[in-house]
Amino acid sequence: MMVITAAWQSVKTSAFCGLGCALFQITARVFPALVCLFLLISPALAQDNPEEELVPSKDRPGYFVNPQGEIVDEFGLLLRLFEHESVCVRCHYEKEKYEKLVLDWDRSKHSKNSVTCDKCHGGNPKGQNVGEAKNVDTTNFRVIKTPLEKLSHEEVPTAAFAYCGQCHGTQFRDWRAGIHGKRTGYWNGEKEYWICIRCHNPHNTKFQKIAPKPAPMAPHMIKFKG
Protein backbone atom coordinates (compact mmCIF):
# COMPACT_ATOMS: atom_id res chain seq x y z
CA MET A 1 0.00 0.00 0.00
CA MET A 2 2.89 2.31 0.79
CA VAL A 3 4.28 1.87 -2.67
CA ILE A 4 0.95 2.62 -4.28
CA THR A 5 0.43 5.77 -2.22
CA ALA A 6 3.94 6.92 -3.09
CA ALA A 7 3.22 6.27 -6.74
CA TRP A 8 -0.05 8.12 -6.56
CA GLN A 9 1.74 11.04 -4.88
CA SER A 10 4.21 11.17 -7.69
CA VAL A 11 1.37 11.23 -10.22
CA LYS A 12 -0.35 14.01 -8.33
CA THR A 13 2.77 16.10 -8.08
CA SER A 14 3.64 15.60 -11.70
CA ALA A 15 0.18 16.68 -12.74
CA PHE A 16 0.30 19.57 -10.32
CA CYS A 17 3.64 20.86 -11.43
CA GLY A 18 2.33 20.85 -14.97
CA LEU A 19 5.67 20.01 -16.51
CA GLY A 20 3.96 19.15 -19.72
CA CYS A 21 6.55 16.58 -20.60
CA ALA A 22 4.71 13.82 -22.45
CA LEU A 23 7.29 11.18 -21.64
CA PHE A 24 7.08 11.89 -17.96
CA GLN A 25 3.33 11.79 -18.00
CA ILE A 26 3.34 8.37 -19.64
CA THR A 27 5.80 7.04 -17.07
CA ALA A 28 3.68 8.45 -14.33
CA ARG A 29 0.60 6.70 -15.65
CA VAL A 30 2.28 3.41 -16.32
CA PHE A 31 4.27 3.19 -13.09
CA PRO A 32 1.34 2.65 -10.67
CA ALA A 33 -0.07 0.07 -13.01
CA LEU A 34 3.24 -1.77 -13.04
CA VAL A 35 3.40 -1.69 -9.28
CA CYS A 36 -0.08 -3.17 -9.02
CA LEU A 37 0.83 -5.87 -11.51
CA PHE A 38 3.95 -6.77 -9.52
CA LEU A 39 1.96 -6.94 -6.32
CA LEU A 40 -0.44 -9.33 -7.99
CA ILE A 41 2.24 -11.52 -9.51
CA SER A 42 4.60 -11.70 -6.54
CA PRO A 43 2.71 -14.38 -4.57
CA ALA A 44 2.64 -16.52 -7.70
CA LEU A 45 6.38 -16.04 -8.12
CA ALA A 46 6.95 -16.94 -4.52
CA GLN A 47 5.03 -20.19 -5.06
CA ASP A 48 7.25 -21.10 -7.96
CA ASN A 49 10.28 -21.55 -5.73
CA PRO A 50 9.39 -24.90 -4.13
CA GLU A 51 9.12 -26.37 -7.61
CA GLU A 52 12.88 -26.86 -7.61
CA GLU A 53 12.63 -29.10 -4.59
CA LEU A 54 10.13 -31.44 -6.23
CA VAL A 55 11.39 -34.95 -6.74
CA PRO A 56 9.84 -37.08 -9.49
CA SER A 57 7.63 -39.72 -7.98
CA LYS A 58 8.87 -43.26 -8.35
CA ASP A 59 5.48 -44.93 -8.08
CA ARG A 60 3.45 -42.53 -10.18
CA PRO A 61 5.05 -41.41 -13.42
CA GLY A 62 4.38 -37.79 -14.33
CA TYR A 63 3.94 -36.74 -10.71
CA PHE A 64 6.27 -35.33 -8.08
CA VAL A 65 6.87 -35.58 -4.36
CA ASN A 66 7.23 -32.35 -2.38
CA PRO A 67 9.38 -31.92 0.77
CA GLN A 68 6.39 -32.84 2.90
CA GLY A 69 6.23 -36.22 1.14
CA GLU A 70 2.95 -35.44 -0.59
CA ILE A 71 2.29 -36.31 -4.18
CA VAL A 72 1.90 -33.17 -6.32
CA ASP A 73 1.72 -32.28 -9.99
CA GLU A 74 4.35 -30.33 -11.90
CA PHE A 75 3.13 -27.00 -10.49
CA GLY A 76 3.60 -28.12 -6.92
CA LEU A 77 -0.13 -28.39 -6.38
CA LEU A 78 -1.65 -31.19 -4.41
CA LEU A 79 -3.67 -33.76 -6.25
CA ARG A 80 -7.28 -32.78 -6.50
CA LEU A 81 -8.10 -36.12 -5.04
CA PHE A 82 -6.86 -34.93 -1.66
CA GLU A 83 -8.55 -31.58 -2.04
CA HIS A 84 -11.85 -33.37 -2.17
CA GLU A 85 -10.82 -35.47 0.81
CA SER A 86 -12.62 -38.35 -0.69
CA VAL A 87 -13.09 -41.11 1.77
CA CYS A 88 -12.77 -43.81 -0.89
CA VAL A 89 -9.11 -43.04 -1.41
CA ARG A 90 -8.17 -43.76 2.13
CA CYS A 91 -8.87 -47.43 1.53
CA HIS A 92 -8.65 -47.78 -2.25
CA TYR A 93 -5.83 -45.49 -3.31
CA GLU A 94 -3.00 -47.75 -2.38
CA LYS A 95 -4.32 -50.61 -4.40
CA GLU A 96 -2.51 -50.97 -7.68
CA LYS A 97 -5.69 -51.70 -9.57
CA TYR A 98 -7.10 -48.28 -8.77
CA GLU A 99 -3.90 -46.37 -9.10
CA LYS A 100 -4.01 -45.81 -12.81
CA LEU A 101 -7.70 -45.00 -12.87
CA VAL A 102 -7.42 -42.56 -10.03
CA LEU A 103 -4.44 -40.78 -11.58
CA ASP A 104 -6.18 -40.57 -14.95
CA TRP A 105 -9.22 -39.18 -13.27
CA ASP A 106 -7.16 -36.62 -11.45
CA ARG A 107 -5.96 -35.15 -14.75
CA SER A 108 -9.41 -35.24 -16.31
CA LYS A 109 -12.10 -32.64 -16.66
CA HIS A 110 -14.25 -34.69 -14.35
CA SER A 111 -12.00 -33.99 -11.40
CA LYS A 112 -11.92 -30.26 -12.22
CA ASN A 113 -15.71 -30.22 -12.08
CA SER A 114 -15.89 -32.22 -8.84
CA VAL A 115 -17.26 -35.36 -10.39
CA THR A 116 -15.77 -37.53 -7.67
CA CYS A 117 -15.73 -41.32 -7.35
CA ASP A 118 -19.02 -41.48 -5.52
CA LYS A 119 -20.91 -39.75 -8.31
CA CYS A 120 -20.52 -42.80 -10.53
CA HIS A 121 -19.51 -45.64 -8.26
CA GLY A 122 -21.79 -44.79 -5.38
CA GLY A 123 -20.82 -44.35 -1.77
CA ASN A 124 -20.85 -41.41 0.57
CA PRO A 125 -17.66 -39.31 0.63
CA LYS A 126 -18.68 -37.60 3.85
CA GLY A 127 -18.89 -40.84 5.78
CA GLN A 128 -16.41 -41.20 8.57
CA ASN A 129 -16.24 -44.98 8.72
CA VAL A 130 -16.77 -47.85 6.35
CA GLY A 131 -20.42 -48.21 7.25
CA GLU A 132 -21.21 -44.56 6.58
CA ALA A 133 -19.08 -44.45 3.45
CA LYS A 134 -20.95 -47.31 1.87
CA ASN A 135 -24.31 -45.86 2.78
CA VAL A 136 -25.61 -44.17 -0.36
CA ASP A 137 -27.91 -41.17 -0.30
CA THR A 138 -29.76 -41.04 -3.60
CA THR A 139 -32.33 -38.41 -2.78
CA ASN A 140 -30.76 -35.61 -4.81
CA PHE A 141 -28.73 -37.37 -7.40
CA ARG A 142 -28.96 -40.64 -9.22
CA VAL A 143 -25.94 -42.81 -8.66
CA ILE A 144 -25.00 -46.26 -9.73
CA LYS A 145 -25.39 -48.15 -6.53
CA THR A 146 -23.32 -51.14 -7.48
CA PRO A 147 -19.95 -50.58 -9.14
CA LEU A 148 -20.11 -50.80 -12.95
CA GLU A 149 -17.79 -53.76 -13.06
CA LYS A 150 -20.21 -55.79 -10.94
CA LEU A 151 -23.22 -55.11 -13.17
CA SER A 152 -24.24 -57.53 -15.89
CA HIS A 153 -23.80 -56.62 -19.54
CA GLU A 154 -27.47 -55.76 -19.93
CA GLU A 155 -27.49 -53.46 -16.93
CA VAL A 156 -24.39 -51.44 -17.79
CA PRO A 157 -25.85 -49.38 -20.67
CA THR A 158 -28.95 -48.28 -18.79
CA ALA A 159 -27.03 -47.47 -15.67
CA ALA A 160 -24.32 -45.63 -17.56
CA PHE A 161 -26.79 -43.59 -19.60
CA ALA A 162 -29.10 -42.78 -16.80
CA TYR A 163 -26.00 -41.52 -15.16
CA CYS A 164 -24.02 -39.67 -17.86
CA GLY A 165 -27.17 -38.08 -19.24
CA GLN A 166 -27.75 -36.21 -16.01
CA CYS A 167 -24.93 -33.81 -16.80
CA HIS A 168 -24.38 -34.35 -20.50
CA GLY A 169 -27.96 -33.68 -21.52
CA THR A 170 -27.38 -32.45 -25.07
CA GLN A 171 -25.13 -35.36 -25.89
CA PHE A 172 -27.60 -37.76 -24.36
CA ARG A 173 -30.43 -36.32 -26.45
CA ASP A 174 -28.37 -36.53 -29.63
CA TRP A 175 -27.24 -40.03 -28.78
CA ARG A 176 -30.80 -41.21 -28.41
CA ALA A 177 -31.60 -39.73 -31.82
CA GLY A 178 -28.55 -41.49 -33.27
CA ILE A 179 -26.56 -38.36 -34.07
CA HIS A 180 -24.01 -38.48 -31.31
CA GLY A 181 -21.87 -41.58 -31.16
CA LYS A 182 -21.82 -44.56 -33.38
CA ARG A 183 -24.32 -47.12 -34.55
CA THR A 184 -23.49 -50.24 -36.49
CA GLY A 185 -25.58 -52.94 -38.09
CA TYR A 186 -28.64 -52.15 -40.18
CA TRP A 187 -29.86 -48.66 -41.04
CA ASN A 188 -33.42 -49.92 -41.34
CA GLY A 189 -33.34 -52.70 -38.81
CA GLU A 190 -31.43 -54.09 -35.92
CA LYS A 191 -28.55 -51.86 -34.99
CA GLU A 192 -26.01 -51.80 -32.27
CA TYR A 193 -25.93 -48.62 -30.22
CA TRP A 194 -22.49 -47.81 -28.98
CA ILE A 195 -22.76 -46.79 -25.35
CA CYS A 196 -20.88 -43.83 -23.82
CA ILE A 197 -18.11 -45.78 -22.16
CA ARG A 198 -17.31 -47.70 -25.33
CA CYS A 199 -15.76 -44.52 -26.75
CA HIS A 200 -15.34 -42.24 -23.74
CA ASN A 201 -13.19 -43.20 -20.81
CA PRO A 202 -14.87 -41.63 -17.80
CA HIS A 203 -11.60 -41.68 -15.87
CA ASN A 204 -9.65 -40.04 -18.68
CA THR A 205 -12.10 -37.86 -20.57
CA LYS A 206 -9.69 -36.44 -23.12
CA PHE A 207 -9.51 -38.39 -26.37
CA GLN A 208 -6.13 -39.79 -27.23
CA LYS A 209 -4.66 -38.88 -30.60
CA ILE A 210 -4.21 -41.73 -33.05
CA ALA A 211 -1.89 -42.40 -35.96
CA PRO A 212 -3.53 -41.78 -39.34
CA LYS A 213 -3.52 -44.30 -42.17
CA PRO A 214 -1.00 -43.61 -44.95
CA ALA A 215 -1.56 -40.60 -47.19
CA PRO A 216 -2.76 -41.22 -50.73
CA MET A 217 -0.15 -41.49 -53.44
CA ALA A 218 0.72 -38.15 -55.02
CA PRO A 219 0.03 -38.01 -58.78
CA HIS A 220 3.70 -37.95 -59.70
CA MET A 221 4.25 -41.19 -57.79
CA ILE A 222 1.69 -43.11 -59.82
CA LYS A 223 3.25 -45.33 -62.45
CA PHE A 224 1.56 -47.00 -65.37
CA LYS A 225 1.90 -50.72 -65.57
CA GLY A 226 -0.22 -51.08 -68.73
Binding site: G178, K182, R183, W187, N188, K213, K225, G226
Partner: protein
Protein backbone atom coordinates in the same frame (compact mmCIF):
# COMPACT_ATOMS: atom_id res chain seq x y z
CA UNK B 1 -7.29 -70.08 -118.93
CA UNK B 2 -10.47 -68.16 -118.49
CA UNK B 3 -11.85 -70.76 -116.10
CA UNK B 4 -8.71 -70.77 -114.10
CA UNK B 5 -8.62 -67.04 -113.85
CA UNK B 6 -12.28 -67.01 -112.75
CA UNK B 7 -11.43 -69.59 -110.10
CA UNK B 8 -8.52 -67.53 -109.00
CA UNK B 9 -10.73 -64.48 -108.75
CA UNK B 10 -13.30 -66.34 -106.66
CA UNK B 11 -10.69 -67.78 -104.39
CA UNK B 12 -9.14 -64.40 -104.06
CA UNK B 13 -12.39 -62.75 -103.09
CA UNK B 14 -13.23 -65.50 -100.63
CA UNK B 15 -9.76 -65.46 -99.28
CA UNK B 16 -9.90 -61.73 -98.88
CA UNK B 17 -13.15 -61.92 -96.89
CA UNK B 18 -11.67 -64.64 -94.72
CA UNK B 19 -8.54 -62.75 -93.89
CA UNK B 20 -10.50 -59.57 -93.36
CA UNK B 21 -12.84 -61.30 -90.90
CA UNK B 22 -9.92 -62.87 -89.10
CA UNK B 23 -8.13 -59.56 -89.01
CA UNK B 24 -11.13 -57.77 -87.50
CA UNK B 25 -11.52 -60.53 -84.95
CA UNK B 26 -7.85 -60.31 -84.15
CA UNK B 27 -8.04 -56.55 -83.74
CA UNK B 28 -11.09 -56.90 -81.51
CA UNK B 29 -9.24 -59.45 -79.44
CA UNK B 30 -6.24 -57.17 -79.14
CA UNK B 31 -8.50 -54.30 -78.22
CA UNK B 32 -9.71 -56.30 -75.23
CA UNK B 33 -6.09 -56.47 -74.05
CA UNK B 34 -5.75 -60.09 -75.02
CA UNK B 35 -8.81 -61.06 -73.03
CA UNK B 36 -11.33 -62.15 -75.67
CA UNK B 37 -14.78 -61.84 -74.15
CA UNK B 38 -17.46 -61.72 -76.81
CA UNK B 39 -20.28 -62.23 -74.32
CA UNK B 40 -19.20 -59.15 -72.45
CA UNK B 41 -18.72 -57.28 -75.71
CA UNK B 42 -22.26 -57.93 -76.92
CA UNK B 43 -23.84 -57.57 -73.47
CA UNK B 44 -26.80 -55.16 -73.25
CA UNK B 45 -27.05 -52.05 -71.17
CA UNK B 46 -27.93 -52.92 -67.56
CA UNK B 47 -31.26 -51.12 -67.68
CA UNK B 48 -32.26 -52.87 -70.92
CA UNK B 49 -31.50 -56.40 -69.75
CA UNK B 50 -34.48 -58.65 -69.19
CA UNK B 51 -34.53 -61.05 -66.27
CA UNK B 52 -33.01 -63.97 -68.11
CA UNK B 53 -30.22 -62.00 -69.64
CA UNK B 54 -29.44 -60.37 -66.31
CA UNK B 55 -29.28 -63.74 -64.56
CA UNK B 56 -27.06 -65.25 -67.21
CA UNK B 57 -24.82 -62.18 -67.16
CA UNK B 58 -24.46 -62.34 -63.40
CA UNK B 59 -23.63 -66.05 -63.60
CA UNK B 60 -21.03 -65.43 -66.28
CA UNK B 61 -19.47 -62.67 -64.20
CA UNK B 62 -19.44 -64.88 -61.12
CA UNK B 63 -17.73 -67.65 -63.04
CA UNK B 64 -15.21 -65.27 -64.53
CA UNK B 65 -14.29 -63.64 -61.22
CA UNK B 66 -14.18 -66.97 -59.41
CA UNK B 67 -11.77 -68.28 -62.04
CA UNK B 68 -9.58 -65.19 -61.89
CA UNK B 69 -9.36 -64.86 -58.11
CA UNK B 70 -9.78 -68.50 -57.10
CA UNK B 71 -12.61 -67.73 -54.67
CA UNK B 72 -16.37 -68.13 -54.86
CA UNK B 73 -17.95 -64.84 -55.91
CA UNK B 74 -21.48 -63.54 -55.49
CA UNK B 75 -22.55 -60.89 -57.99
CA UNK B 76 -25.90 -59.42 -57.10
CA UNK B 77 -28.16 -56.97 -58.85
CA UNK B 78 -30.35 -56.03 -55.90
CA UNK B 79 -33.00 -53.55 -56.95
CA UNK B 80 -33.62 -50.34 -54.98
CA UNK B 81 -35.97 -50.70 -52.02
CA UNK B 82 -39.26 -48.95 -52.41
CA UNK B 83 -39.66 -45.70 -50.52
CA UNK B 84 -35.96 -45.13 -49.97
CA UNK B 85 -33.82 -42.15 -50.85
CA UNK B 86 -30.42 -42.44 -49.30
CA UNK B 87 -28.78 -39.54 -47.56
CA UNK B 88 -25.48 -39.24 -45.78
CA UNK B 89 -24.47 -37.06 -42.86
CA UNK B 90 -20.97 -36.25 -41.72
CA UNK B 91 -20.14 -34.55 -38.44
CA UNK B 92 -17.24 -32.20 -39.15
CA UNK B 93 -16.71 -31.39 -35.49
CA UNK B 94 -15.98 -35.06 -34.79
CA UNK B 95 -13.90 -36.09 -37.81
CA UNK B 96 -10.26 -36.51 -36.79
CA UNK B 97 -8.87 -37.21 -40.26
CA UNK B 98 -7.58 -40.71 -39.48
CA UNK B 99 -8.39 -42.01 -43.01
CA UNK B 100 -9.81 -45.26 -41.64
CA UNK B 101 -12.86 -44.76 -43.86
CA UNK B 102 -10.65 -44.43 -46.93
CA UNK B 103 -9.05 -47.82 -46.45
CA UNK B 104 -12.22 -49.55 -45.28
CA UNK B 105 -13.76 -48.35 -48.54
CA UNK B 106 -10.86 -49.73 -50.58
CA UNK B 107 -11.21 -53.14 -48.95
CA UNK B 108 -14.98 -53.24 -49.23
CA UNK B 109 -15.21 -51.99 -52.79
CA UNK B 110 -12.25 -53.78 -54.40
CA UNK B 111 -10.50 -50.66 -55.62
CA UNK B 112 -7.30 -51.05 -57.55
CA UNK B 113 -4.26 -50.86 -55.25
CA UNK B 114 -1.71 -49.86 -57.86
CA UNK B 115 -2.13 -47.29 -59.38
CA UNK B 116 -4.04 -46.41 -56.30
CA UNK B 117 -7.69 -45.32 -56.32
CA UNK B 118 -9.36 -43.89 -53.23
CA UNK B 119 -13.05 -43.06 -53.46
CA UNK B 120 -12.85 -40.89 -50.35
CA UNK B 121 -10.41 -38.01 -50.11
CA UNK B 122 -9.97 -36.56 -46.65
CA UNK B 123 -9.12 -32.89 -47.07
CA UNK B 124 -7.27 -31.04 -44.35
CA UNK B 125 -8.40 -27.43 -43.89
CA UNK B 126 -6.87 -24.70 -41.80
CA UNK B 127 -9.13 -23.49 -39.03
CA UNK B 128 -10.15 -19.89 -39.02
CA UNK B 129 -8.81 -18.65 -42.37
CA UNK B 130 -11.86 -19.12 -44.49
CA UNK B 131 -14.95 -21.21 -44.16
CA UNK B 132 -14.10 -24.17 -46.36
CA UNK B 133 -11.24 -23.44 -48.67
CA UNK B 134 -10.92 -26.53 -50.82
CA UNK B 135 -8.35 -24.94 -53.08
CA UNK B 136 -5.86 -24.58 -50.25
CA UNK B 137 -6.83 -27.82 -48.54
CA UNK B 138 -4.61 -30.86 -48.90
CA UNK B 139 -5.29 -34.56 -49.00
CA UNK B 140 -1.62 -35.53 -48.67
CA UNK B 141 -1.18 -34.51 -45.04
CA UNK B 142 0.88 -37.02 -43.14
CA UNK B 143 1.44 -36.20 -39.46
CA UNK B 144 2.38 -38.72 -36.81
CA UNK B 145 -0.85 -38.23 -34.94
CA UNK B 146 -4.26 -36.84 -35.75
CA UNK B 147 -6.15 -34.62 -35.13
CA UNK B 148 -3.59 -31.86 -35.57
CA UNK B 149 -4.05 -28.58 -33.75
CA UNK B 150 -5.44 -25.80 -35.89
CA UNK B 151 -6.88 -28.00 -38.62
CA UNK B 152 -10.15 -29.66 -39.42
CA UNK B 153 -10.87 -32.44 -41.88
CA UNK B 154 -13.51 -32.92 -44.56
CA UNK B 155 -13.85 -36.35 -46.12
CA UNK B 156 -15.21 -35.99 -49.63
CA UNK B 157 -16.68 -38.79 -51.69
CA UNK B 158 -19.52 -38.90 -54.17
CA UNK B 159 -22.16 -36.40 -53.07
CA UNK B 160 -24.98 -38.30 -54.83
CA UNK B 161 -26.39 -35.19 -56.46
CA UNK B 162 -30.03 -35.02 -57.37
CA UNK B 163 -29.05 -32.88 -60.37
CA UNK B 164 -25.93 -34.86 -61.15
CA UNK B 165 -23.75 -33.21 -63.80
CA UNK B 166 -21.83 -36.45 -64.38
CA UNK B 167 -24.85 -38.40 -65.62
CA UNK B 168 -25.90 -35.59 -67.94
CA UNK B 169 -22.64 -35.53 -69.88
CA UNK B 170 -22.24 -39.27 -70.40
CA UNK B 171 -22.44 -39.82 -74.17
CA UNK B 172 -23.49 -43.48 -73.85
CA UNK B 173 -25.68 -43.26 -70.74
CA UNK B 174 -23.44 -45.64 -68.88
CA UNK B 175 -24.05 -43.75 -65.65
CA UNK B 176 -27.38 -42.80 -64.13
CA UNK B 177 -29.19 -42.07 -60.89
CA UNK B 178 -31.10 -45.00 -59.42
CA UNK B 179 -34.51 -44.72 -57.78
CA UNK B 180 -32.98 -44.69 -54.30
CA UNK B 181 -30.75 -41.78 -55.24
CA UNK B 182 -27.50 -43.66 -55.79
CA UNK B 183 -25.54 -42.62 -58.86
CA UNK B 184 -24.17 -45.78 -60.45
CA UNK B 185 -22.01 -46.81 -63.39
CA UNK B 186 -22.44 -49.80 -65.70
CA UNK B 187 -18.78 -50.70 -65.99
CA UNK B 188 -19.38 -52.86 -69.03
CA UNK B 189 -21.13 -50.05 -70.87
CA UNK B 190 -18.65 -47.31 -69.96
CA UNK B 191 -16.38 -46.34 -72.84
CA UNK B 192 -13.86 -44.56 -70.65
CA UNK B 193 -14.20 -41.11 -72.20
CA UNK B 194 -13.95 -39.47 -68.76
CA UNK B 195 -16.42 -36.72 -69.55
CA UNK B 196 -18.10 -37.41 -66.21
CA UNK B 197 -14.82 -36.92 -64.37
CA UNK B 198 -14.53 -33.49 -65.96
CA UNK B 199 -18.13 -32.67 -65.13
CA UNK B 200 -18.02 -33.70 -61.46
CA UNK B 201 -17.37 -30.65 -59.27
CA UNK B 202 -16.28 -32.82 -56.33
CA UNK B 203 -13.58 -34.96 -57.92
CA UNK B 204 -15.51 -38.03 -56.88
CA UNK B 205 -15.01 -40.09 -60.03
CA UNK B 206 -11.90 -42.13 -60.69
CA UNK B 207 -10.44 -43.86 -63.69
CA UNK B 208 -8.93 -47.34 -63.84
CA UNK B 209 -5.61 -46.73 -65.52
CA UNK B 210 -4.56 -50.38 -65.34
CA UNK B 211 -6.09 -53.82 -65.15
CA UNK B 212 -7.02 -54.02 -61.46
CA UNK B 213 -4.98 -56.62 -59.63
CA UNK B 214 -6.32 -57.10 -56.17
CA UNK B 215 -4.60 -59.50 -53.77
CA UNK B 216 -6.62 -62.73 -53.56
CA UNK B 217 -6.91 -62.70 -49.80
CA UNK B 218 -8.03 -59.08 -49.70
CA UNK B 219 -10.78 -59.24 -52.30
CA UNK B 220 -14.37 -58.83 -51.21
CA UNK B 221 -16.39 -61.60 -52.83
CA UNK B 222 -19.78 -60.19 -51.90
CA UNK B 223 -20.36 -57.89 -54.85
CA UNK B 224 -23.01 -55.95 -56.73
CA UNK B 225 -23.18 -55.52 -60.49
CA UNK B 226 -23.35 -51.73 -60.17
CA UNK B 227 -21.12 -51.56 -57.13
CA UNK B 228 -17.96 -53.26 -56.04
CA UNK B 229 -17.46 -56.06 -58.57
CA UNK B 230 -13.93 -56.05 -59.99
CA UNK B 231 -13.76 -53.43 -62.70
CA UNK B 232 -12.06 -53.81 -66.05
CA UNK B 233 -9.30 -51.50 -67.18
CA UNK B 234 -10.28 -48.19 -68.71
CA UNK B 235 -13.60 -47.50 -66.98
CA UNK B 236 -14.72 -44.86 -64.53
CA UNK B 237 -15.77 -45.84 -61.03
CA UNK B 238 -17.15 -44.03 -58.01
CA UNK B 239 -18.65 -44.32 -54.54
CA UNK B 240 -22.01 -46.10 -54.56
CA UNK B 241 -22.87 -45.70 -50.85
CA UNK B 242 -21.80 -49.38 -50.72
CA UNK B 243 -24.80 -50.40 -52.82
CA UNK B 244 -24.15 -54.08 -52.05
CA UNK B 245 -24.59 -53.35 -48.33
CA UNK B 246 -27.10 -50.52 -48.13
CA UNK B 247 -29.70 -52.16 -50.36
CA UNK B 248 -29.71 -55.03 -47.86
CA UNK B 249 -30.19 -52.62 -44.99
CA UNK B 250 -26.62 -52.49 -43.73
CA UNK B 251 -24.64 -49.34 -43.05
CA UNK B 252 -21.91 -48.44 -45.55
CA UNK B 253 -18.42 -49.68 -44.74
CA UNK B 254 -17.11 -46.17 -44.00
CA UNK B 255 -19.84 -45.55 -41.43
CA UNK B 256 -19.10 -48.88 -39.78
CA UNK B 257 -15.39 -48.21 -39.40
CA UNK B 258 -15.46 -44.55 -38.30
CA UNK B 259 -13.83 -44.53 -34.85
CA UNK B 260 -15.54 -41.33 -33.74
CA UNK B 261 -19.00 -42.03 -35.12
CA UNK B 262 -18.95 -38.99 -37.38
CA UNK B 263 -20.66 -40.74 -40.28
CA UNK B 264 -24.45 -41.02 -40.37
CA UNK B 265 -26.50 -42.80 -42.98
CA UNK B 266 -30.20 -43.21 -43.49
CA UNK B 267 -33.35 -42.89 -45.51
CA UNK B 268 -34.31 -39.31 -46.31
CA UNK B 269 -37.94 -40.31 -46.83
CA UNK B 270 -38.26 -41.76 -43.34
CA UNK B 271 -39.13 -38.92 -40.93
CA UNK B 272 -37.75 -40.87 -37.94
CA UNK B 273 -34.37 -41.60 -39.47
CA UNK B 274 -31.06 -40.30 -38.12
CA UNK B 275 -30.40 -38.33 -41.27
CA UNK B 276 -33.71 -36.50 -41.06
CA UNK B 277 -33.10 -35.69 -37.41
CA UNK B 278 -29.72 -34.16 -38.11
CA UNK B 279 -31.00 -32.11 -41.04
CA UNK B 280 -33.78 -30.75 -38.86
CA UNK B 281 -31.77 -30.15 -35.68
CA UNK B 282 -28.18 -29.48 -36.65
CA UNK B 283 -26.32 -26.84 -38.62
CA UNK B 284 -26.17 -28.46 -42.02
CA UNK B 285 -24.51 -27.47 -45.26
CA UNK B 286 -23.71 -29.12 -48.55
CA UNK B 287 -20.60 -28.71 -50.65
CA UNK B 288 -20.71 -26.25 -53.55
CA UNK B 289 -24.41 -25.58 -53.24
CA UNK B 290 -24.06 -22.74 -55.71
CA UNK B 291 -23.58 -25.30 -58.46
CA UNK B 292 -27.18 -26.40 -57.96
CA UNK B 293 -26.15 -30.02 -57.96
CA UNK B 294 -28.36 -30.64 -54.92
CA UNK B 295 -26.20 -33.19 -53.17
CA UNK B 296 -27.61 -35.71 -50.72
CA UNK B 297 -24.44 -35.60 -48.65
CA UNK B 298 -24.94 -33.34 -45.65
CA UNK B 299 -22.08 -31.99 -43.60
CA UNK B 300 -23.05 -30.86 -40.13
CA UNK B 301 -21.38 -29.59 -37.01
Amino acid sequence: MEKKSKNEKEINRRGFMKTAALGVAGLAAQGCSGNINFDRFFQSHFKQMDKEELLSTLKKLEAEYSATYGRQFVVKATKPMEGTLFGYGLDLSRCIGCRKCVYACVEENNQIRDPQIHWISVMRNKKGDKWIDLENATRYYDPKEVPEDGYFYIPIGCQMCEQSPCTKVCPVQATWKEADGIVVVDYDWCIGCRYCMAACPYGARHFNLAQPQIPKDEINTNTHYLGNRPRPKGVVEKCTFCVQRTREGKYPACAEICPVGARKFGNLLDPDSEIRYLIEHKRVFRLKEDMNTQPKFYYFF
